[in-house]
């Protein structure tokens, strides 16, 4: 059964672009920091359409053209993003939040981890406020695009995170884009199935488990997520 989590339309907070337009919004946000147009930016978006999004390096995999055609035939065209990681489905059941900051540091380990905590901890606090029990940051073994800084419920992945670092033009400062993609609606089986279909099409034997994922709608079936989203954005803006 698909969780009945609410995603209202026509919000001033949540953009409703296509996947391609949403990725471009994030790129423009990072570029604005790189051009010195500000020190901080936030954008939240949920796509109107569907795509399987991955770093461009996947294009070099043997069998990629065939896999791309196979996924497109299933209604999941492939698109590319500038952050790292592995394939992630984007669809109207996913809310993305991108945080861009100008940092007077470089992209060293401590700062990469700082960036993930800077995005993830307010997200956990917001989820707690919504009534989710014990959200935390960590790995979700068996999840697609797994990393050390997923927002998890137990050990199940709710929000996947990624980063892109670029230099601010004309100085030593760096611009960081930290991105989180939260599954709100649909079931994990649906989205994991899309990633596993790509894995099969590309000839990669690794498969991912729906049990390693969870959707917010499974946790809070009655939640009006979009109405609560300004609370998340406010928390992310607090230290700006």
């Amino acid at each position: 059964m698909t969780p009945a989590c609410s995603l209202e339309r026509d919000s001033q907070t949540l953009h409703r672009p296509s996947v391609a337009e949403g990725l471009a919004l994030e790129e423009a946000l990072l570029e604005s920091i790189c051009h010195g147009e500000g020190d901080f930016g936030l954008v939240a978006w949920s796509p109107q359409d569907r795509a399987l999004v991955m770093p461009r390096r996947h294009e070099r995999l043997e069998g990629f053209p065939e896999a791309r055609a196979a996924l497109a035939a299933q209604g999941w065209p492939i698109q590319f993003r500038s952050t790292g990681g592995t394939p992630v489905p984007q669809c109207p059941a996913v809310i993305n939040v991108a945080l861009a900051l100008r940092c007077r540091v470089t992209g060293s380990a401590a700062h990469l981890e700082w960036g993930y905590r800077r995005l993830g901890m307010p997200w956990c606090d917001w989820l707690s406020e919504l009534g989710v029990t014990a959200p935390n940051l960590g790995e979700a073994p068996g999840a697609y695009c797994d990393g050390r800084f997923n927002v998890r419920i137990g050990e199940r992945k709710l929000v996947g995170t990624a980063q892109r670092w670029r230099r601010v033009r004309g100085c030593r400062d760096m611009a960081m884009l930290a991105h989180g993609a939260m599954q709100v609606g649909e079931t994990p089986e649906t989205l994991v199935g899309v990633v596993n279909a790509f894995q099969a099409a590309i000839g990669d034997p690794e498969r991912f488990s729906p049990a390693s994922h969870i959707a917010l709608g499974q946790l809070l079936p009655e939640a009006r997520v979009e109405a609560a989203l300004p609370g998340l954005l406010a928390r992310l803006a607090e230290d700006a």
Partner: protein, 129 residues
């Protein structure tokens, strides 16, 4: 403690530069940088023949933690890119100053090398992080 060879020059954005003595340099990212990035999974290499300005973005390095742009430490023309990294990007982690080199440049101005950090100055910068 990161390995910072004394015979190299460095940038504040954690690239190293080896003077080949013939107007060309070899460059890569430092041991400190590779430690910071974690396991490198992809390096987007510059095209041979491309002319770069100092500080110009010329590629991308992607690790399990993040993707980050690569910047030309000096102005010059790309004369070689380490295509072995396409199949073995992990070499950047394993041997950042040897097999993990990224590109070779023919310098537009060899004297510009003197403007880069020496090992001592780079060590201070890395320690400060």
């Amino acid at each position: 403690m990161s390995n910072i060879p004394a015979n190299l020059r460095y940038t504040e954005s954690h690239e190293w530069v080896l003077d080949n003595g013939d107007g060309t340099v070899t460059l890569g990212i430092t041991d400190h940088a590779q430690e910071a990035l974690g396991d490198v999974v992809f390096v987007e290499l510059p095209e041979v023949g491309r002319s770069l300005d100092a500080g110009e973005e010329f590629g991308v390095i992607e690790s399990v933690k993040a993707a980050s742009d690569l910047y030309a430490p000096l102005a010059g023309e790309v004369i070689e890119a380490n295509e072995a990294l396409e199949d073995a990007p992990e070499t950047v982690n394993e041997a950042p100053y040897e097999g993990g080199w990224i590109a070779k440049l023919k310098l537009a101005d060899a004297a510009a090398l003197e403007g880069l950090l020496d090992a001592e100055a780079y060590a201070k910068l890395a320690d400060a992080e």
